[in-house]
């Protein structure tokens, strides 16, 4: 038989259950913390390696990461020194809130002069078969950005006098993609190209 529902019994039972549960969770959290961190860092590193030319530093190291707060969210800049020409380039994790399915996140690799090297889609919730063609695994849409410099290449769909060919029947996703890349470029130009020399996390984050 269940115990009597007296105030003392109820309080005690709930206390014991919540206490034991928290203890178990704390234990599992400690146990999995390193593995989860390792997975996160590995994912970032893989992404950076995909969008940038070969480099020989560690862009995800805290000294090389710059966080920029724009339009209500954070843009991450991962700085790298290229192997061949020793110039400073960066992978910029950018976002847009204008996707058909809301927010999506891209990682854009820029070369020293601002040219787009490669773009990787980190996460999105665009419509399968339509808007999800922004992902290079599905469609060639994002390839048209490669090797273009946003200084001369207008990041807008051709309907709006831009230089980008939109995905058929997915103008909203295409426009959002341009918006995300433009946001990445703006941060890259301000924080990496203009400064010439990288100053890491100093100053910029506290100003926001």
């Amino acid at each position: 038989m269940a115990r009597e529902s007296s105030f003392k019994n109820m309080t005690l039972t709930l206390f014991v259950i919540t206490f034991v549960s928290s203890a178990v969770l704390a234990g599992v959290y400690e146990l999995t913390k390193d593995a989860i961190d390792a997975v996160r860092i590995r994912k970032i590193n893989q992404g950076i390696a995909e969008v940038l030319p070969p480099f020989n530093n560690n862009p995800s190291d805290t000294d090389n990461v710059h966080k920029e707060f724009v339009d209500g969210d954070t843009v991450y800049v991962y700085k790298a020194i290229t192997k061949e020409r020793k110039d400073t380039v960066a992978a910029v994790q950018t976002f847009t809130n204008n996707g058909y399915g809301g927010k999506f996140v891209l990682l854009v690799g820029f070369l020293a002069d601002g040219t787009i090297n490669n773009i990787k889609v980190i996460s999105h919730s665009e419509t399968p078969g339509l808007g999800d063609k922004i992902d290079p695994a599905k469609h060639g849409f994002s390839l048209q950005f490669h090797g273009k410099n946003p200084e001369t290449y207008k990041l807008a769909v051709s309907k709006e006098d831009g230089d980008v060919d939109a995905i058929t029947a997915s103008t909203i996703s295409s426009k959002a993609f341009c918006d995300a890349v433009a946001r990445a470029y703006a941060v890259y130009r301000e924080k990496v190209m203009k400064k010439g020399k990288w100053d890491g996390n100093t100053g910029a984050t506290s100003q926001q």
């Binding site: 969770l25 989860i36 078969g129």
Partner: protein
């Protein structure tokens, strides 16, 4: 010698009877009380996660794991919990197990976790888990409760995998990620309406087969 032998035989028969009983509990969850097609419980994860067979399978397995653990725990401690705080206690226990599964998956199965991540916390409010805790585990012993969890979990997993399989086949022309015909497929089946269509027709099919088998 003879008596000992007889005793051995009777224990074997007894064990076999127990086994049969447990298997029946498991089978009941898969077929007669299939959570998706018969009890129609847990529709939210069923519709949301079955856009491909592998997603359905992983969601089913994660739910089964939680179901077995929560059933076991509740069958052990259920009698000590006062009636009036029964539901909050069950929810805390279930939520703890779900979080454990979530953390373990994030650490050791990152690929599956990145597709299922947002649905894992939903297991907490999956009515199958709470319903089995309330209607079975709280009234039955530990062993029976584990087998009930296993049965219902397998029933859920099979239903989700099959639903995912059908939707993936029609919507993307692929099976477990392996592309059969090139092209886009009938995209509708990957989207929300396709989930309802596929579920409805599978439910009809399942119940037709079930009726026929029972008649025999």
């Amino acid at each position: 010698m003879g008596r000992k032998h007889r005793r051995n035989v009777s224990t074997i028969i007894k064990n076999m009877l127990i086994m049969k009983e447990k298997i029946q509990i498991v089978l009941k969850g898969i077929f007669k009380e299939n959570p998706t097609f018969v009890l129609i419980l847990g529709m939210c994860p069923t519709l949301a996660t079955t856009s491909s067979a592998i997603n359905g399978l992983s969601m089913g397995l994660a739910t089964s794991f939680v179901l077995m653990l929560s059933n076991l725990t509740i069958s052990l401690v259920g009698k000590m919990i006062p009636d009036k705080v029964r539901i909050p206690s069950y929810i805390v226990i279930i939520a703890a197990f779900v979080t454990v599964v979530d953390l373990l998956m994030a650490g050791y199965l990152p690929d599956i976790h990145s597709t299922l991540g947002i649905f894992i916390p939903l297991i907490v409010v999956n009515c199958i888990v709470l319903a089995r805790a309330e209607s079975f585990a709280a009234k039955n012993g530990a062993a029976d409760s584990i087998f009930d969890g296993l049965g219902i979990g397998l029933g859920f997993t099979l239903a989700l995998t099959f639903l995912g399989f059908v939707r993936e086949l029609l919507g993307a022309y692929s099976v477990f990620g392996y592309k059969l015909i090139s092209g886009d497929g009938i995209i509708l089946f990957i989207l929300a309406p396709g989930a309802f269509f596929a579920l409805a027709y599978l439910m009809i099919l399942f119940n037709m087969v079930k009726k026929k088998l029972i008649k025999k």
